[in-house]
Symmetry: C2
Subunit: 189 residues, 2 copies
């Protein structure tokens, strides 16, 4: 998605070889026009898949998931994060290790909002090590629903998440795939 | 907003005299059609105010703020929450006491995204004790921006936040004001 790549080049701040800050349009301030165009891209890619629900994780996935859902005319469910590892009866949950925060946390979704028969599109802002996406995939599987695919805004292709999730059979569609980045610039795949 | 009130009556779960769970359409699963209509209500109420930016707090305010911003064609900034009370140079921050979680936390916004001259509309899902809204108002004031008003989805009018924030001069527009609630039902103002 050319508009997104240009925006990453313009406003992304490369902190080091593996961390890029996109607070200006995606993770703190939200450029609603850009995010709406991103939603449209996801819609046109997955529109024939009879999606019934969109799944994301709080907090920074919510805006993109919401604008994507407006095109599909389906509800969003956002997985919640908890630092306590609990598996209550009425929730689907998965433990996810965050390399960014260097700790394990738990994500959960109420059983009420994912059902067998649901065709789920996962939306997230970043794909890096793939742990969050694999956690959501486990939750969808546990619910007996079908994971149709995953729409990712920015994939850090130099990390191993992309290979992991594709090897796990997840149909990933990333709008910008960063091949490498450093002080001297960002290269896309 | 009649559609919202009917939805609260249908799907809101009153846990006790002060807590209502609206996870089915607002706080965990998001009914995007309803939230889009809510955004339209906020737009029609504040459309003449030359809003330049919408401010909310992660996580459950983000979806409503996003759909409201789509009508206004302005960016959203979401204040982040932190449990550590830090006041770094490059952030506006406010300490907010959460009666729900019985602890103080810190909300912050990068200085880059709120400027003097900005006319800010705050959007949030709930108004109860008013602490979150007062915290956001302090941040807007600290930035030298103007707080035009606050669009609230559900106000618990039996708690003191509504009076506190209106006494502080904030122009509050709540779509559903709950007068009281119990096992036997919910009454709106």
């Amino acid at each position: 998605m050319e508009e997104l790549k240009q925006r990453i080049l313009k406003d992304g701040i490369v902190l080091n070889n593996s961390v890029i800050k996109v607070d200006k349009f995606l993770n703190h301030q939200l450029d609603i026009t850009l995010l709406d165009n991103i939603g449209s891209e996801f819609y046109h890619h997955f529109m024939d898949q009879e999606i019934t629900k969109i799944l994301t994780i709080e907090a920074s996935g919510i805006a993109v998931a919401t604008l994507t859902a407006l095109y599909f005319n389906v509800p969003v469910v956002f997985a919640r994060k908890s630092e306590s590892i609990t598996h209550p009866e009425d929730k689907y949950s998965a433990d996810v290790y965050s390399f960014t925060h260097e700790k394990q946390f738990n994500i959960f979704v109420s059983r009420e909002y994912l059902k067998p028969g649901d065709k789920i599109l996962v939306i997230d802002d970043f794909l890096a090590n793939g742990q969050a996406l694999l956690g959501m995939a486990r939750i969808v599987h546990e619910a007996g629903a079908t994971l149709v695919g995953a729409g990712i805004v920015i994939e850090k292709s130099f990390q191993d998440g992309g290979k992991l999730v594709r090897d796990a059979g997840i149909n990933v569609f990333s709008l910008a795939r960063i091949k490498n980045m450093s002080d001297s610039g960002i290269t896309f795949l």
